[in-house]
């Protein structure tokens, strides 16, 4: 369990995160959404111990990440958006660096590399960006950590790999793991991320499961306009409209529409979800 309390962080005198309070539970794949520059990457680097909280605290199973205790670091992995093209074969990289993670599984690394169709005997600095990214994703999954933080993992992946990634995130992770994936590519990760966290400048706008969202908001895909809609977007064949769920009927949550609805009605959304 991750407990974040009143977390604050600034770069110089530019505040990025302010008063962030939330809990992340085991067995969940959290999706971290937010506009450019709201601090998604900053939050991830604070969680994995690369940065030190300036205000408030982070507690991960009794550890403060910035203490960087080896037992904590061995059970968590942070996959950065930017990955290093090492001058070595992927298989050698995995064999050498995997040693730092107690649960590292070379067999799993090779399996995921196969699924992604990347040759582990290839040198990393000879790979395309997408192949390199897939190598690091394979490595991240092979580390078998309880905590897995991924920053924009589907950036640079080709079309088949995006589907493979969605499957791999469930197939190759631990049942008790806490996974946090930041993304702008909500379509890449639709159906796999749940709960959804929406971060805004210095604030958490939403931290709710898809079930909770569909309980409170109704996503209407018919062509008839509803005057009470909080959000409306024309799509081929009709509209996506979002309104308060009065009838309790279930609908399919559309993440883009959810994100835009939350952005246009920040206080209202916070009000109906914080009960």
């Amino acid at each position: 369990m991750i407990t974040i309390k009143d977390l604050g962080f600034s770069y110089g005198d530019v505040p990025v995160l302010k008063n962030i309070t939330m809990n992340l539970e085991e067995g969940r794949i959290y999706g971290l959404l937010g506009g450019n520059g709201v601090g998604k990457t900053t939050l991830l680097t604070l969680l994995c111990g690369l940065k030190k909280p300036q205000l408030g605290s982070i507690d991960i199973d009794g550890y403060a990440p910035y203490d960087r205790k080896p037992t904590f670091l061995a059970d968590q992995y942070y996959l950065s958006d930017e990955v290093a093209a090492m001058n070595m074969k992927a298989a050698d990289y995995a064999a050498n660096y995997g040693k730092f993670w107690t649960g590292f599984d070379m067999g799993k690394f090779n399996e995921v590399m196969n699924v992604f169709e990347v040759d582990a005997q290839q040198k990393m600095n000879k790979m395309s960006f997408g192949q390199l990214k897939k190598t690091y994703i394979a490595f991240a999954l092979a580390c078998n950590t309880k905590y897995l933080f991924m920053d924009e993992p589907t950036n640079g992946l080709d079309i088949p790999s995006k589907a493979q990634f969605r499957k791999a995130v469930t197939r190759y992770t631990r049942e008790d793991s806490v996974i946090l994936i930041s993304t702008h590519q909500v379509r890449d990760l639709e159906n796999i991320i749940d709960p959804i966290i929406i971060l805004d400048r210095q604030d958490v706008l939403l931290n709710a499961s898809v079930a909770e969202v569909s309980e409170r908001l109704y996503f209407d895909y018919t062509s008839e306009r509803n005057p009470d809609a909080l959000y409306c977007e024309m799509i081929p064949g009709g509209n996506i409209q979002v309104y308060l769920n009065q009838t309790g009927e279930d609908s399919k949550v559309n993440l883009e529409a959810l994100f835009n609805t939350v952005h246009q009605h920040k206080e209202l959304i916070k009000g109906i979800f914080n009960k």
Binding site: T170, N191, A211, Y221, D250, S251
Partner: protein, 116 residues
């Protein structure tokens, strides 16, 4: 698996399983995939699959053997058929009738075309 429409994903998963029961592919007392296996198979969050399994359990279509997994109930096919008939008669048929009236089609005409 292709998802579509207005229906939430967990209900679409329920539909897919019910269809495989009706076709006979999933016979009584057959074990279905675990929540995580199925989630990985179709690229969907395991918690969503769990919601689908919970609904199917409540509807008496599958049952849970603690620690072993989920199995198809012995009368699953009848249960599914009964509920889908009800759904068809109450929700789908009125829409078809509305459309037939709009197009001036008689039931006989429709049946004739269908028999060819």
């Amino acid at each position: 698996m292709e998802f579509n429409g207005n229906k939430s994903i967990y209900l679409q998963i329920c539909d897919a399983i019910c269809e495989r029961i009706l076709s006979g592919e999933l016979a009584p007392d057959v074990r279905i995939m675990s929540v995580r296996e199925y989630g990985a198979e179709i690229g969907v969050n395991p918690n969503t699959v769990m919601r689908a399994y919970e609904k199917l359990t409540n509807d008496g279509i599958i049952y849970n053997k603690r620690g072993i997994g989920y199995f198809i109930s012995s009368d699953a096919a009848e249960t599914v058929r009964a509920s889908q008939r009800k759904e068809f008669l109450e929700n789908e048929l009125p829409e078809i009738i509305r459309k037939m009236k709009l197009l001036g089609l008689s039931p006989e005409e429709c049946l004739q075309v269908n028999e060819k």
